[in-house]
Point group: C2
Chain length 114, copies 2
């Protein structure tokens, strides 16, 4: 869900949420910020449907948060790299991640068994 | 939208987004963190429908992010106060707000005229 109703508000936090608050948008951005730059790698690690990932990557490029460029090894494949604007989100997103680590325990029982 | 599909993931950022990533949840929490503790004040400042605000406040209380208590002046009205767990979100949310200030200009033309 892209919350366009929030994009235009006077509160800059509302505008941020409107721009990047969608769950898969944020998780895709976080993955790229942490070095997962290729479509197949992102899809496998995020466990997201291809069409959703395509949509969110296109959106992140459109927003000026990622750039798409050919992989330098000469193949026709592309990779996604974060812009400066995106890199500025690393610290606050990292803080939210740490908060989740402290306060939102995983309820995955198979994980808890180890 | 409450993204329960994200709640249970191994990535703590996904769990955070699943817990508080919903737009109105986040904006309600931010308003309470900044001293807007009463329902009527929140409703007016956020410009949100009463049923949505009620739902998000109930959810934030349920998550242990807000506590609901009678206003100390003896009236039967209540106010909402942030818990320690919620206060820990102030800094990262503040950073996201500053990011929005830098990178998501308001498109409100009436605002731009001043």
């Amino acid at each position: 869900m892209i919350r366009s109703d929030l994009n235009n508000r006077k509160c800059p936090l509302a505008r941020t949420v409107g721009e990047i608050g969608d769950g898969w948008t944020l998780l895709t951005l976080w993955a790229v910020l942490n070095g997962q730059t290729r479509f197949e790698v992102l899809q496998e690690n995020l466990g997201v449907a291809r069409n959703i990932l395509s949509d969110r990557l296109r959106r992140l490029v459109h927003l000026g948060l990622l750039v798409r460029r050919p992989i330098s090894n000469g193949s026709r494949r592309c990779e996604y790299l974060p812009t400066k604007k995106a890199v500025e989100l690393h610290e606050p997103l990292s803080a939210l991640r740490e908060w989740g680590e402290r306060h939102c325990p995983s309820k995955d029982l198979t994980e808890m068994a180890y």
